[in-house]
Amino acid sequence: MIDRLDQIFVLLKHWILGYLPASLQTPAGVILSVVCIIGLYPALFALTTVLERKGVGRIQNRLGPNRVGPFGILQPMADGIKSLTKEDIVPTSADAVVHFLAPVILVVTVFMGFAVLPMGRNMVLVDMDAGLLFYFAMGASSELSVFMAGWGSRNKYSLLGAMRAVAQMISYEVALLLSSVVIVMMTGSLSLVKIVEAQNHYSYGFPHWFIFTPWGLAGFLMYAIAGTAETNRSPFDLPEGESELVAGYHTEYSGFKFALFFLGEYVAMFSISGLGSTLFLGGWTAPLAALQWVPSWIWFFGKLFVSMCVFIWLRGTLPRLRQDQLMNFAWKFVLPMCLLNLFVAALWRFLGEGLLRWVICSGILILAYAVMGSAEMRRKHFGPRTYRYAE
């Protein structure tokens, strides 16, 4: 029974496919899974928008939306209807084709990432050997759509926003990749299914998630920072900094195209969170051996939910960074830490079992964090502002 519940979606799919002729089963199965993914994540996106608005409201001691439906949970419906009925404006001087393709490419590439994410035991669309590589390839192409949107709009705000976005996304893409590489080093596989399997064993009732190792924790923190920046979330939301750039690269988008950008941003957050939990938090595995009877997909989506809450919490807390702070942080702190983390992971691997590797690896990382952190803090002493005038 428990097994049945764990595999309920897989069994459901097989049951539906059973009604089809054998030659159609494979393509129909793929289409079915794709439709499920494409249906599920926008629904989650709708729920997240209202969760975010209510959560941020509570953080600011407000109530948040509570008018549409019970407790305002139908708010996304109202928003959706609004964006669907709005006029779709394409600026006369914009490059119509590029302008149109940008949101489409964003949504497509963002959804492609889910193809390789295992959302439960046996619940993965394609178990690719190079799944992680595929994921990052797709993640990187969303930068293309951002730049298409900014460049195709022929608007200086859009272009500036796109420039910022691309600069930021490329910088943090490096950190994102490097923080994930430690996982590949330890598991020896790029397949996300295998990475989850590698974390799916328990000692003393606790799981062997990678976050419970020094390099895993450091990697996870770097991954979280880079992932937040990669999805343009606060405090790294410079690309669309509404107070300085109107709306950044999607200034010239209205109606449903704007909604697509919005959707793309949130689905990218789901996707980054899903990958993060797959890499560091054991994917669909239970956090305690005693809880293994709970269906695996509940754990996956539970972890997704927690990461979304953290995203919202961060957004409600932190002010936006300045562009130079953002770049300094990426190249002078996150990147060196990631490189050091690679070294630590290698050390961990070759020191063998025992307490020694814990002490050494944690020591190196904490020391590096303290030294680089204090260096980072020290640069914050500003003197009185001086002005130099042209003579």
């Binding site: 953080i59 001691n61 109530l63 807390t317 932190l318 952190g373 204090s374």
Partner: protein, 270 residues
């Protein structure tokens, strides 16, 4: 330590988040259409016309002098004078606005109309829920929509309304006192000139006396201090021209008149 501030901030927002569920005092907002915060007394939005008594058309203080129309910077007021006359608050026949329109889509809430009005006839309203589906007609308010009772004025700007009432009562008392002295003088003259023709004086006296007697006591109450300040103010009302008020006050005189009422309570007008 790097990241310490972030943790502190996260703790603070978490405290806010949890606190917003347990304590009502934390909440910075109210659920607006159901719960309304009281507006500050100095709040203002668009002008309205004050009327005395129960009938808005009869009690309208406006005498269509068109000063506000001329002073209005965005020219949002349109006035048409009436052909006939009706008595104003002192009982003097005055023309009244046959048409008084304010286009609130043009009005910029500057309050200049209120400041220039010598008759205390136009005041600022606090009503702000004025949205309409009719872009032109719905935002053009005619005199019926603009007319609001003096009691309403008291509810929205109590301090200011009290000052205005005091001032008007004082004006009225002064006019009546003048009328009374004039009547008395006339009567005395008549009596002195022709004692035999007392019938004529007798007819003149009753006309003035009933009007004057209730107001003199009132005047004694109100015009304690400002009597000196406003004494040189009131020019003699020219009966018959109509457009002139009983006592049009200039800005400085107005201020002088309102000053004694001020120190007790409230913010200064404008």
């Amino acid at each position: 330590m790097l990241g310490e501030g972030i943790l502190k901030g996260l703790a603070e927002t978490a405290r806010n988040f949890a606190g917003s569920f347990v304590s009502k005092e934390r909440m910075t907002t109210v659920e607006y259409p159901e719960v309304r915060l009281p507006l500050p007394e100095a709040a203002r939005n668009f002008p309205f016309l004050v009327y005395d008594g129960n009938d808005w058309e009869k009690g309208l203080r406006c005498v269509a002098c068109q000063i506000c129309e001329k002073e209005c910077p965005p020219k949002c007021i349109y006035i048409e004078k009436s052909k006939d006359k009706k008595p104003d608050y002192v009982g003097k026949p005055q023309i009244y606005p046959a048409k008084f329109d304010i286009d609130i889509s043009v009005c910029m809430s500057c309050q200049i109309c209120v400041e220039v009005c010598p008759f205390e006839a136009i005041k600022m309203n606090t009503e702000f829920e004025l949205s309409t589906d009719d872009r032109f007609g719905g935002l053009l308010l005619d005199r019926k929509e603009l007319a609001k009772s003096n009691e309403y004025y008291h509810t929205i700007h109590p301090t200011e309304a009290r000052e205005v009432d005091a001032r008007l009562a004082q004006e009225k008392a002064k006019v009546e006192a003048k009328a009374k002295t004039a009547a008395e003088a006339a009567a005395a003259k008549a009596a002195a000139v022709a004692t035999g023709a007392s019938a004529a004086a007798a007819t003149a006296n009753p006309a003035a006396a009933p009007v004057a007697s209730p107001s003199t006591t009132k005047a004694a109450e109100i015009a304690v201090a400002p009597a000196a300040a406003t004494a040189p103010a009131a020019p003699k009302p020219v009966a018959g021209t109509g457009t002139d008020g009983p006592a049009p006050m200039t800005e400085s005189e107005k201020k002088a008149a309102s000053e004694p009422a001020k120190p007790g309570e409230g913010e200064p007008k404008a």
